[in-house]
């Protein structure tokens, strides 16, 4: 069993508009048999936080192309993307590049 995790989520660049305009969310992920990774985090966000038009945020089991993900201030492409295993107190930022120039 993985213990519950407390992490900080941040949405920006227009992505926050899908979350009631709220940028920062302090959340607790419940304990579950498998360790939490970004893939299961996205499923959790879709269930628990997304307020509208989920297709503008997730596509299949990943984020919609054009949404950048930073894990502890580093590009998720350097961190294993969907397979990154979350640690307690991690900070995950989602920034949309798809909104007006």
């Amino acid at each position: 069993m993985a213990a519950p995790l407390s992490i900080q989520l941040e949405f920006g660049g227009g992505a926050e508009l899908l979350f009631d305009g709220i940028r920062k969310h302090q959340v607790t992920l419940p304990s579950q048999p498998e360790p939490w990774d970004i893939r299961s985090l996205l499923a959790w966000i879709k269930e628990n936080l997304l307020k509208e038009r989920p297709e503008l945020f997730v596509q299949g089991d990943t984020v919609r192309p054009g949404i950048l993900v930073l894990i502890n201030e580093a590009d998720w492409e350097l961190m294993g993307e969907l397979d990154y295993q979350l640690q307690d107190q991690d900070n995950v930022v989602f920034i949309s590049t798809l909104h007006g120039g």
């Binding site: 950048l68 350097l78 294993g80 930022v93 920034i95 590049t97 007006g100």
Partner: protein, 350 residues
């Protein structure tokens, strides 16, 4: 927990991003330095500016123009370009949306210490976007928005005595436009859209210093530098065709990150056969703006609005041009003609 990836440039810092163009992993400091150096390189290589020029930076409050204004101010100081920089914003008159984005521009003006000028649709055309939208309905207003915005920057910059306009178009925007013009077979636009410096006779020259900068890097640069920008979608329906081109491009980029740069390159390298007839550029009979037709698109749209026939300018150009240039002569017969025209008009080809 995976070991942090080290920067491939300095070898010391923890890498903060993988660059889409090259795949290189860089730390924050090395990325910021490389990004600034590359934009400077673009400006120098394309000879975008001459010392002593006044450059109006189109400032929408969005990410691209915010990064552009920040970079131009920084590079102008660092490399002694000798430019006088101004921020120029267009107020379309969209309650809520534009008020908030203009606030973002004002905050940046304070931070950058550059003069800001705002020109409004109401003063330039006599119509705000909200009022236009009430007249033309929700489907067509982006045609108006786009056409009027383009001219508004020109007119505003001319009023300010600027020599040149700089816009925040990035590599993704250019790739998207190349793709759209290719899909539509619009040879005239295809040839022009990939250019970095356009327009000379009549209109003010326009340049795109961020033409080779990926959207991902612009957004991360803004994030790492703590730049404040506005990111709400325009409340009026965005151009659906562009939206699809954008999605297609983002899907391609996810599989092959060089797709964006490749499309920009294709746009630059495409040659148009000698025997292809290109539209001849003239100037608008009414306002003097560049136009391949007797009347420019803005004057046609405006005329339609003022005559209570707002859909006049939306559709086949030959038809509406005929209606309006005929109407320049006798007043009789105009009404019939224009009513037919507005009935015949259905598509938005923009």
């Amino acid at each position: 927990m995976p070991a942090p990836v080290l920067c491939q440039s300095c070898g010391a810092g923890r890498a903060a991003l993988r660059r889409p163009k090259t795949g290189q992993a860089l730390c924050r400091e090395c990325f910021v330095a490389a990004f600034e150096a590359e934009v400077h390189g673009t400006i120098v290589a394309a000879r975008l500016f001459q010392p002593g020029e006044t450059v109006a930076v189109g400032a929408s409050g969005g990410k691209d123009s915010t990064v552009l204004a920040h970079l131009l101010r920084l590079l102008n100081q660092r490399h002694g370009y000798g430019l006088r920089l101004l921020l120029l914003s267009v107020d379309e008159g969209i309650a809520g949306y534009r008020d908030d984005s203009l606030d973002a521009v004002r905050r940046n003006r304070g931070r950058l210490g550059l003069p800001l000028h705002v020109v409004s649709y109401r003063e330039l055309y006599g119509w705000s976007m909200d009022r236009i939208a009430r007249h033309v309905g929700p489907k067509n207003n982006c045609t108006f928005c786009g056409v009027f915005r383009r001219q508004a920057l020109d007119r505003g910059a001319a009023l300010l005595g600027a020599d040149k306009i700089a816009t925040g178009h990035n590599a993704d925007d250019v790739a998207e436009t190349v793709l759209m013009n290719f899909l539509r077979g619009d040879v005239g636009r295809l040839r022009r859209c990939a250019g970095i410096l356009t327009g000379s006779e009549g209109a003010l020259p326009r340049c795109k210093p961020l033409k080779h900068a990926y959207e991902k890097e612009i957004v991360l640069y803004a994030y790492f530098q703590g730049l404040d920008y506005f990111s709400t979608e325009c409340v009026y329906a965005p151009n659906a065709y562009r939206g699809h081109a954008r999605t297609l491009l983002k899907d391609l980029e996810a599989i092959r990150p060089s797709a964006v740069a490749d499309l920009v390159h294709s746009g630059e390298r495409l040659a148009v056969r000698e025997d292809v007839r290109m539209p001849t550029q003239g100037t608008c009979q009414r306002c003097g703006y560049l136009s391949s037709q007797p009347l420019c698109k803005a004057c046609v749209l405006l005329e339609g609005l003022n005559r209570g026939l707002p859909r006049l300018g939306i559709g086949k150009p030959s038809r509406m041009q005929k209606v309006l240039t005929d109407a320049e002569k006798p007043e009789v017969g105009f009404r019939e003609d224009s009513q037919q025209a507005s009935r015949a008009i259905r598509t938005v080809d923009f």
